[in-house]
Subunit: 348 residues, 2 copies
DNA sequence: TATAGTATCGTAAACGTTTACGGAAATTAA
DNA sequence: TTAATTTCCGTAAACGTTTACGATACTATA
């Protein structure tokens, strides 16, 4: 590996000048700068990050914290890949690299964050899979490392975050159901602890209240956010005395199981039950009848996350003066056939 | 941030001794070591990685190179998440951290690898999405950085690699088809350049030859590895003069489109066409009739990759004396209903 | 011409570690 | 008691950068 010292020796100038030339500092002659850049290119010089980090206390890298376990909230499709692509697109504008830091299922997330922060290999962090009570946020708030959370938490709010508009998804869904005459509307939630569920549930309740529909606890169903869970929920639903006529699937990965269970009884989604899913994954289009769902541009979300983070970092703030730190990320509904049924005469 | 210097001052001993105590070096008194560890814990000391890297030229981290674009050969999030979990499980045994390095769709993969190597933030690399001709491998071979490839390449083979047993998958599939009386057997490949396709195709041809079945070029179908591609392939297949009675889907993400296209003509997979898919994804179980496919433990694959890499790194070799550097990763077939049809009397 | 200002560069310290080396104290051997 | 050995610890250099500071030479101003 060729160092700055080698460059200096090769050009017979001081390492200080070489460094200044490489870093576009003002007080260096144009010709010498040209020579330095030329030589750097020839010899294949590239700055050693450790040396640079040690001196400046900066790494030119941003970390994206994810959980590497298999089923993280049913994000089975390319959720992260899409977000990552957006993150990079924005970060690369500032010559920042993205390091994805996967927290293993074996390790306590808080401990993992501590380790990664201590390692000092990133200048800022984006954390995902936010929990209602999230110790990582506690820790990061205390540390001086800039960070942005994908997903709100109740742990502390004076940090930037971006959250998908779960509230809006639930509201729009319920409104649409009600508009079509539905009165008994169910909601299917994931069985885990993520904050997502509580937001959805609250918005669901609020929407019902707005329409003067009484909240029925038995219509809040919980299961794992996958095929099996969907089957179980459909089963539970079909066994209710007073069956719902519509259901909102917070995790549309449940959809397939639901379709499957219905098919077993000769029932058809969209005719015997109105279904709206969240969030428009690659699979959503595959259903028959097609699933009404919500569209989300993962790439744009990634870009927004990066912008939000950078706007809190002094070195980059100038580029993001007008940006909002935190925001609710809106999503558009995409019409399918699964919620076609209106005011059913024979509620299932 | 508390440094080793702070620790030394606090304990009124030299920084050399502190460092030795923390790193389990032999020549340090047991009591002083205990004191040092205690103080480090109290003050929340954790070694600065930049300083350490600069001095030792080592980072205690392994990089996993992936491509962050949306459709990377149908390897959705789950694929990587599973592998990552396995990687970490093995790496953590040696106190190594895993950094996932996503190559953006905007950037040339070779250039990205160069940048990441130059950054010197990992001691070794695992690269994925290997192409038949892969410049990254060229570069890494020249550099001194240890690496292992997930997927073979023709670029140079004197480096460790692990490849899924595509050859076996094709062979077992064709054998099973033939055993059930099929003679016209198609194969659906992805339309892109990955090495996977060529291996599959070769094995497909070899298997046919073994059974004295003439190779028919029109039975090699190509499309994008997704729902639409499957639909297109089914369409093409149904328009053939002499239709095949069986098909091997190299990317079972195509399966849904194929099912869909068949349903349109009132045809049923498993009755009117024998289908075997690859690789047993979460969706595979959801099909009806269920898709016969191949099982793959992503976690175990990750563990093997890590072991393979570490066995080439001097500092860790002692733990992996007997390990093989490169290997073909076997997969088991999982019976479904999609290939139930035997020697059809009325070939579609 | 003398002075002030400017452009350019070299010097050296600092970031936080690790580690080779040597020295002092403690222990053992004679 | 002395010499030899061992145990423990401090010193200082080194890794590759960046950057404050000062020095030099040149240019413009009076």
């Amino acid at each position: 590996m060729v160092s700055i010292k080698d460059l200096a020796k090769h050009l017979d100038i001081s390492i200080g000048t070489v460094s200044r030339a490489l870093n576009d500092k003002p007080d260096v002659n144009k010709q010498t700068r040209a020579k330095v850049l030329q030589a750097a290119d020839n010899l294949g010089y590239v700055a050693n990050q450790s040396g640079r980090s040690l001196r400046q206390g900066t790494t030119n890298a941003i970390g994206f914290l994810i959980e590497s376990g298999a089923d993280t909230e049913g994000n089975s499709d390319n959720f992260f890949m899409g977000v990552i692509d957006g993150l990079q697109s924005e970060l690369s504008k500032h010559k920042l690299d993205l390091l994805v830091l996967p927290c293993s299922t074996d390790e306590d997330p808080e401990n993992y964050v501590k380790r990664m922060v201590a390692r000092q290999l990133v200048d800022g962090m984006i954390i995902s899979a936010t929990h209602t009570i999230d110790k990582r946020i506690d820790f990061l708030s205390k540390s001086k490392l800039p960070f942005v959370a994908l997903g709100q938490s109740e742990t502390g709010k004076n940090h930037p975050w971006i959250d998908l508009d779960f509230e809006g998804v639930a509201r729009v869904s319920i409104d649409r159901f009600v508009k079509n005459g539905h009165q008994r509307i169910a909601i299917a939630l994931s069985a885990n602890q993520l904050n997502l569920g509580s937001i959805f549930l609250k918005s669901y309740k609020d929407s019902l209240k707005r329409h003067d529909i009484e909240f029925a606890p038995e219509l809040v169903l919980q299961a794992n956010s996958n095929d099996k869970g969907g089957y179980a929920i459909a089963d539970e639903l079909l066994n209710l005395n007073d069956r719902p006529t519509a259901i909102l699937l917070v995790h549309e990965l449940m959809a397939h199981g639901l379709y499957r269970r219905f098919a077993e009884d000769g029932l058809v989604v969209g005719r015997d039950l109105a279904v709206i899913g969240f969030r428009n994954s690659a699979q959503a289009r595959m259903f028959s009848p097609s699933l009404t769902s919500f569209k989300l541009s993962l790439r744009d979300l990634g870009i927004a996350l990066a912008a939000s983070l950078l706007s809190t970092m002094p070195a980059y703030q100038k580029h993001y003066s007008g940006k909002m730190l935190s925001q609710i990320w809106p999503m558009e509904i995409v019409d399918g056939e699964s919620d076609a049924v209106k005011i059913p005469k024979n509620p299932i």
